[in-house]
């Protein structure tokens, strides 16, 4: 029997039931829901939105304030990069003093006594690159590059050919040079935003590396060995940046969608340049020409034949022959460089071989008495190198480099290599004392995104000059180079 005076417990239960029903009717979460479900069903209040709005306004204020006061600004899209090399060297026998430049007479700018060791900053570069005009529709962009490089004037190393170039060459009182390296505009005639299967074609105007072989067009920061191949440092035309107009492109592109691996059957380049080197007007009335073509074997990414490339390059130039007494130019001499290269990269293995032969018109007699009718001969020089490398690690894999991480993760890689580099500045049998073979054993440790440690052991063997070996040109030189290269 139910009393008409309800017991308090019944009232409480009924109230709870009513409240629960009400809560359900209003969409409140039932008691068994987890916190995530309750959160999802809980609407935001006006106070919540105001809080969020305040946070957003604070963020915008901080951004605007920081942009105005603390950030560098440029007029156009710009990327700033640079590379610095720090080097320690040892060599035996000791590097001879720079007697030819008066160093032993007390001139402190020069190396006064023989030395076996040195600490150097052989190179520091600063690069600015960016878009001047961005074509959103097709990606036919106009880009620019501006680069500067510091170079030490006392960059002595065991591979230099003569005492003067090896130890001295000081031309500035502070012992360094700071020069313009890259200064160019590039326009892409082909779309660059369509995907990897699109062919490339870019015309570059200005001061730039020349598209000859492999090493001559490798920028400072990507060269595998501390010292570049001898021929690429020496031969006329290709050993320096040039000013002119060069078109680079590729055709018959194939993409293996396994990992979006792109290969172009043909890469090509053609250009016309001054031929007088960087930061100089043309020094004669003739222009130099460059041609290059390279073929990459079509192969899947997983094929052992991937990245097998064969290239051929040709440089036709003109140099001035001067009477060294009057400094008058007596003749415009022809200069040709022909080269072939083969490279194969299938990590962990990589092989590259390059051969170059130069033919330059040279005076038969002494330059000090040269006239325009002085006879010349075709002086031939040739150089070649073979580089074999084995790499451990993942730094050269795009996937591993870009793998998502919270911290400053960067895959490490280690590379052991051996290089044989030979150069003969004059191939005539009678010309001696001008051939050098350098064997290099090296270990590169790529331990951060832009930093590597390079350790090279070099054994340099010189052929004997007619006057016999000297301190400046000993039979063999053993050298060790340790170099940190860091970039930003």
């Amino acid at each position: 029997m139910i009393s008409h005076r309800l017991r308090p417990t019944v009232v409480a239960a009924a109230s709870l039931l009513a409240l629960t029903s009400l809560a359900h009717a209003q969409g409140a979460a039932p008691a068994q829901d987890d916190q995530a479900t309750i959160d999802a069903k809980t609407p935001a209040t006006k106070a919540d939105i105001q809080g969020l709005r305040t946070d957003l306004e604070n963020y915008k204020y901080e951004q605007a304030r920081s942009a105005e006061r603390n950030r560098a600004q440029t007029t156009r899209n710009t990327k700033i990069t640079g590379t610095v090399q720090l080097r320690a060297t040892w060599q035996n026998p000791a590097q001879n003093a720079g007697a030819a430049n008066g160093a032993t007479s007390g001139n402190t700018n020069y190396q006064a006594t023989p030395r076996q060791t040195s600490f150097d900053v052989p190179s520091a570069t600063l690069q600015f690159t960016g878009n001047l005009y961005r074509d959103y529709n097709e990606g036919k962009n106009l880009t620019y590059a501006l680069g500067f490089a510091y170079a030490s004037n006392q960059s002595g190393n065991p591979t230099s050919l003569t005492s003067a170039t090896r130890t001295l060459g000081v031309s500035a009182s502070n012992g360094s040079q700071f020069n313009l390296t890259n200064a160019n505009l590039a326009y892409s005639f082909f779309p660059t935003n369509g995907g990897q299967e699109d062919a490339k074609g870019t015309l570059t105007f200005g001061q730039q590396l020349v598209p000859f072989g492999l090493e001559a067009q490798a920028d400072e920061e990507v060269r595998p060995v501390i010292n570049s191949a001898q021929f690429s440092n020496t031969l006329n035309g290709i050993s320096q940046r040039q000013i002119g107009l060069i078109y680079r492109g590729d055709s018959f592109v194939d993409v293996d969608y396994t990992n979006n691996y792109r290969q172009a059957l043909i890469e090509y380049a053609a250009g016309v340049v001054n031929g007088s080197g960087p930061n100089k007007s043309d020094n004669n009335g003739k222009k130099d020409f460059i041609l290059r073509a390279a073929f990459t074997l079509p192969a899947d990414y997983n094929s052992w034949l991937r990245q097998l490339k064969v290239g051929a390059s040709y440089y036709r130039g003109y140099t001035n022959i001067a009477n060294t007494t009057s400094n008058a130019v007596v003749r415009i001499a022809g200069s040709k460089v022909k080269g072939i290269d083969i490279s194969w990269t299938h990590l962990p293995w990589s092989i590259s071989y390059e051969y170059a032969q130069a033919t330059d018109d040279a005076l038969v007699g002494a330059a000090a008495s040269a006239t325009e009718s002085s006879p010349v001969y075709a002086k031939k020089a040739k150089g070649q190198y073979l580089n074999l490398a084995y790499t451990w690690g993942e730094q050269f894999l795009a996937s591993e480099k870009s793998v998502a991480k919270y911290d400053d993760y960067w895959p490490k890689s280690y590379q052991a290599f051996v290089r044989l580099d030979s150069f003969d500045a004059d191939t005539r049998d009678a010309a001696t004392g001008d051939k050098t073979v350098i064997a290099t054993l090296g270990l590169n440790a790529f331990f951060a995104e832009t930093t590597k440690l390079q350790l090279n052991y070099l054994r340099t063997r010189n052929d004997e000059p007619t006057t016999g070996y000297t301190q400046n040109r000993p039979r063999t030189i053993n050298g060790v180079q340790l170099q940190f290269q860091y970039g930003f």
């Binding site: 293996d256 899947d300 795009a398 870009s402």
Partner: protein, 361 residues
């Protein structure tokens, strides 16, 4: 290349007995298991959402499984998506793929990558074609000759092409450009592209873009993704593979429970994809088992076969892709049996319709 040093002590005797004789001769356990996802969170953070393999990472389920054995689990998330995962595997740096899309999976096999398909990583869902907010296009036909973004080499490329086909068009009718997910989102905002296939909810809420087409839960447009293991790893460590699969199936089952829906949506949103994209994208999936389904059923197999034909048609592969011997369902079957989940998930016929309904809950 990373080297493995192999433990010498066998610690998984109970599992060994379940395995065939050939497998017993395999090595016991690795020091590390490298599991890769074909994607990363917004801004390159190492988190992905949207699937039960993603939950296994978010919950550290595989780590927990092998913790007592001292086996480390290395998780990799590739912003370069499926193609980047292929590169990693081709260079011996990945053991398992958790959720590889159909196109990179197929292309990888066509060029000699050797893996065994273990289970489906997910399926189904809706697809939307989205254009920038200021676009006047009403249909794909209005966008002929315009820039359509997709991440080439990924499953999204084939999905986009199927979208074109559905409206009587093809990739040749558009200027198809390749952008990754983050770049596509940015390009939509700035109007640098004219359309793309992606979830519309977040971009619509922000006024950045809007949908012009939606294709809801069409098994032809969307295709299953895949969990696979490298053949070499599978041969060496079959018991490890079994434990990974069994643990994944457990996670899959947890992920299908309605009580865990919100929990996992919020976990997925930590990847940077807006919560609303997940919430609305899964709203119409009343039974989570319809999409969170690990089975290698008729639908899975037919879908991959169809994708192979499409990849050939669009010249994305140069040679045949052998289907026979690719699937290795025994690990999944063992797991379903051990966990008593053999009848838990619905089985779909080749056309995507339910062939055998899942267990009543």
């Amino acid at each position: 290349m990373k080297r493995r040093t192999f433990a010498t002590v066998l610690g998984t005797a109970p599992f060994i007995n379940l395995l065939p004789m050939g497998a017993r001769a395999a090595e016991a356990r690795p020091q590390v298991i490298r599991i890769s996802f074909p994607g990363a969170g917004t801004g390159g953070r190492p988190i992905v959402g949207g699937s039960f393999p993603a939950n296994s990472h978010l919950q550290r389920a595989i780590d927990e499984e092998f913790k007592a054995d001292g086996i480390r689990v290395e998780w990799k998330h590739f912003p370069g998506a499926g193609p980047a995962l292929n590169e990693s595997f081709a260079n011996g740096l990945t053991d398992f793929a958790f959720g590889h899309g159909d196109l990179p999976l197929i292309v990888g096999r066509s060029t000699g990558l050797k893996h065994k398909v273990l289970m489906s990583a997910g399926r189904g869902g809706d697809s939307y074609f989205v254009v920038p907010a200021g676009s006047t296009a009403k249909s794909l036909t209005d966008l002929k000759g315009k820039r359509i973004a997709t991440f080439k080499g990924t499953a999204g490329q084939l999905t986009t092409y199927r979208f074109f086909e559905r409206f009587g068009l093809s990739d040749k009718d558009f200027k198809v450009i390749s952008l990754d997910s983050d770049s596509t989102l940015a390009a939509l905002s700035t109007g640098d592209i004219d359309g793309t296939v992606r979830a519309p909810f977040d971009v619509e809420a922000r006024g950045v873009a809007h949908r012009i087409h939606e294709i809801l839960n069409d098994p032809y447009i969307t295709r299953p993704s895949t969990v696979w293991v490298g053949e070499e790893f599978e041969k060496k460590y079959p018991e490890v593979v079994q434990r990974v699969v069994t643990r994944l199936v457990k996670v899959a089952q947890w992920s299908t429970l309605e009580a865990n829906r919100e929990k996992q949506l919020q976990l997925w949103a930590t990847s940077g994809t807006a919560y609303v994209d997940y919430q609305k994208g899964w709203e119409s999936t009343k039974d989570l088992r319809d999409r969170i389904n690990p089975l290698l059923d008729d639908y899975y197999q037919a879908s991959i076969r169809n994708s192979i034909e499409e990849a050939k048609k669009y010249k994305l592969v140069r040679r045949d892709v052998a289907f026979d011997g690719w699937l290795e369902p025994r690990y999944l079957n063992n797991a379903l049996k051990d966990l008593k989940l053999e009848d838990y998930w619905p089985q779909q016929a080749a056309d995507g319709k339910v062939k055998v309904p899942g267990r009543k809950l």
